[in-house]
């Protein structure tokens, strides 16, 4: 639900549609109510006018008939009154119902007869008292909007019109003419509901139209966004379709031009780096044959060094040592070029990492002794099997160990192996010169030296840790470093025990607690 809300909220189309609908809703509301007012006013006026005409004629007719009845006996006068009222009244509750109340104006003392009469449902209190007073004071027709209740309390809106009538021998009477407005109200109700319905439909249609229009604009924009995303994820062949000649097509063309230029640039860079990698690899290969010859020649000279004078003899030793170093450098460069070209492959086998570590330590014991340090192995189990490229794992261990020996400063080195069902970790800790924390991120850089003035004891290539990191990553593993000046350094290698899976947890804490 929240996600849908977020998507709608972040959608341009949605926002445009909502604001359009809201705005048109208020416009429709305003015009609708104005129209409604105007119409109902008109309807009321028309009804009032016709009511006044009708009432006036009824009143005139009554007055006229009563004038003719001057001098007739009381029963005749009464018949005239009943006749007049009956003809102007429609009895019943129909919508056009007209009722009449014929009441004597109070306070007359010379009346001989009482002719008061009311339609069937009218009660004395159906006429508001203050209206009666108004009528008595006025000389013309008066009217008021009111309502009256039929028996059973069914209330009906009415207009009451009234005038004074002179009755022979009975003085002044007031005639109240009730006209039902039920019909008029029905008409007004109809107008209002039609207006509401029309307004609602209008808003709905406006919303729909906006949606259609917005879609026309938004669709290419969305398409552009989708293509840009795919472009970002590496598919540089993506282009926008441009078939119109408008702003959207300008966007499309601009985008396509950018894509074209980017693709070219990337292809150029890729080619450049491919050429460079190829070159490094070729150089390494081509160097191998003369290096082999050199190697054998130096070996023969070195073998016969006892028969040379001391300078030549020493030179032979240096020659052999430097060829060793040169060769290691060549190997490392070749390996790096394989990583760069992404052609390095894993050859997984099952092996015991504890015996591998033991063998590496054994092989380097002499070197460690030359640097007056030693290595101590702490393991969580006697054998820990894992499936990995043993050649690479061995190379990582050797690189970490030689690095530790180089920097141990004569203090002993601790090698820890820990494991779980899923992962295995090897920590190599030295207590030597250490490294500044801000330089830690650079220890895996190629040919990087913490202290350029300090010579490499082992004559390493400067590529060992970079290769170790690449080797670890190739296994989906991780190689991390910690260091503090004078407290030494700690390198932790974590590998999944099965080739192809990734590591679940760090088994050895990188930052030592002591």
């Amino acid at each position: 639900m929240q996600r849908v809300g977020f998507r709608l909220g972040s959608s341009l189309a949605f926002r445009v549609i909502v604001s359009t609908v809201l705005l048109s809703l208020s416009v429709v509301w305003l015009t609708g109510s104005a129209l409604n007012n105007q119409l109902s006013k008109g309807v009321k006026q028309v009804n009032l006018d016709s009511a006044i005409i009708e009432a006036r004629s009824t009143f005139f007719n009554t007055q006229y008939r009563l004038a003719l009845a001057q001098g007739l006996p009381e029963s005749d006068v009464r018949r005239v009154i009943i006749d007049v009222i009956t003809s102007a009244t429609s009895i019943g509750r129909s919508e056009n119902a007209r009722q009449i109340a014929f009441l004597e104006t109070p306070g007359q003392t010379d009346a001989k007869f009482n002719y008061e009469i009311k339609s069937e449902f009218l009660k004395v209190d159906s006429v508001p008292e203050n209206f009666k007073i108004k009528v008595r004071k006025s000389s013309d027709i008066k009217w008021i909007y009111s309502s009256f209740a039929y028996p059973g309390n069914v209330s009906t809106p009415v207009i009451i019109l009234a005038d004074k009538v002179e009755v022979p021998n009975a003085g002044q009477y007031e005639m109240y003419f009730f006209i039902s407005l039920a019909n008029q109200n029905k008409t007004l109700e109809l107008i209002r509901s039609s207006l509401l319905l029309t307004g609602f439909a209008l808003v709905l249609l406006i919303g729909l139209i906006t949606w259609l229009v917005v879609r026309q604009v938004v669709r290419p924009v969305r398409e552009a966004a989708r293509i840009a995303t795919e472009f970002t994820s590496g598919d540089f062949r993506q282009r926008m379709d441009v078939h119109t000649r408008d702003e959207i097509s300008t966007l499309g063309n601009a985008f396509n031009e950018m894509a074209e230029s980017l693709e070219k640039q990337i292809a150029r860079l890729e080619n450049l780096s491919r050429v460079q990698q190829r070159f490094v690899s070729d150089v390494s290969h081509e160097l191998r044959t003369p290096l082999t010859t050199l190697r054998m020649a130096s070996e023969i000279i070195h073998g016969a060094r006892q028969s040379f004078d001391p300078n030549v003899s020493r030179s032979a030793e240096l020659l052999v040592a430097q060829l060793d170093r040169f060769e290691r450098l060549l190997e490392d460069l070749l390996e790096i070029s394989r990583f760069d070209a992404e052609v390095a492959v894993l050859e997984g086998v099952d092996f015991d990492i504890v015996s591998l570590a033991k063998r590496c330590i054994e092989d380097l014991t002499l070197v460690a002794a030359e640097n007056s340090t030693s290595m101590l192995l702490i393991v969580s189990d006697e054998t820990i099997m894992l499936n990995a490229d043993i050649r690479r794992v061995e190379r990582i261990l050797r690189n970490l160990l030689t690095n530790a020996i180089d920097h141990a400063d004569g203090k002993p080195i601790e090698v820890t192996i820990a494991h779980t069902e899923h992962d295995v970790a090897v920590g190599v800790r030295d207590y030597g010169i250490g490294i500044e924390p801000h330089l830690l991120s650079r220890v895996f850089d190629r040919f990087w030296r913490a202290d350029p003035s300090r010579a490499r004891v082992r004559g390493g290539t400067g590529l060992g840790l970079s290769i170790a990191l690449e080797d670890a990553r190739l296994h989906n593993g991780e190689l991390e470093a910690w260091g503090r000046p004078k407290y030494g350094a700690h390198f932790v290698l974590t590998l999944p025990r099965r080739e192809g899976s990734s590591i679940e947890a760090r088994l050895i804490t990188l930052k030592p607690t002591t």
């Binding site: 290969h285 191998r288 044959t289 003369p290 290096l291 082999t292 010859t293 050199l294 190697r295 054998m296 020649a297 070996e299 023969i300 060769e327 070749l334 492959v345 050859e347 086998v349 099952d350 063998r359 092989d363 099997m385 043993i390 050649r391 061995e394």
Partner: protein, 228 residues
């Protein structure tokens, strides 16, 4: 005197190789092109061939196949590439061993050559048996019934190594040191490829081996004896 044929197009390296080999008391025939190998080989059959992979004429892997087609002479490939692909191609073409240039020590080359030339297990007298095969170590024969199966010296050594200790499971490392004379090597490709080649010659069904049996996660052992 031992004769080694050195096939390499780099003249300086070839000369250097012959100096080193001569120093170790080995005679050398130098060949510079792949397409000249067979002729020289037939005229002066060497005790061992040292074969470069990159050769003008025919490349080393092809030359290896041609030699294997007519001889069981030990072949050591010289490769400038340590890449798996080339190594496996060479081994599958019939090379017994390979060395990646530059060699760590020239003496390592001599040692390899000598390992491949020496008469292994000459101390074992009489017959060994493995599955339905009998092995005459002295005469260098493998027999299935009366039929002689022709193996290279290396394949023979591999089979003998397994047969002389029938109960033992050999790790690949153990076989490398036993048969190839490597110490501390982790290159299991050599073992894998040669086991495949050996199986293709001696097994009834190389897909379901019964003579050289794989022990998963460890290595190989000799199959049970079958009395026919």
């Amino acid at each position: 005197m031992t004769l080694v044929m050195v096939v390499d197009d780099d003249q300086d390296l070839a000369e250097m190789l012959s100096i080193v080999l001569n120093g170790a008391g080995i005679d050398v025939d130098l060949v510079g092109r792949g397409d000249e190998v067979l002729e020289v080989f037939r005229n002066h059959p060497p005790d061992l061939v040292l074969l470069d992979v990159m050769l003008p004429g025919i490349d080393g892997v092809e030359v290896c196949k041609l030699i294997r087609a007519e001889s069981m002479v030990p072949i050591i490939m010289l490769t400038a590439k340590g890449d798996t692909h080339d190594v496996v191609l060479g081994l599958e073409a019939g090379a017994d061993d390979y060395m990646v240039k530059p060699f760590r020590h020239p003496s390592e080359l001599i040692a390899r050559i000598k390992t491949r030339l020496r008469r292994t297990n000459s101390d074992i007298a009489g017959l060994l048996a493995i599955s339905d095969l009998s092995i005459d170590v002295q005469a260098h024969h493998v027999l299935r019934g009366k039929k002689v199966i022709s193996l290279t010296r290396l394949e023979f050594d591999l089979l003998v190594a397994l047969a002389k200790e029938p109960g033992r499971v050999f790790t690949r490392d153990a076989l490398l040191s036993e048969v190839w004379g490597y110490r501390h090597s982790t290159d299991t490709r050599l073992v894998n490829v040669h086991v495949q080649r050996l199986r293709s010659k001696i097994e009834h069904d190389p897909e379901n081996p019964e003579i050289v049996v794989t022990v998963r996660g460890v290595g190989y052992k000799a199959g049970a004896l079958v009395h026919s």
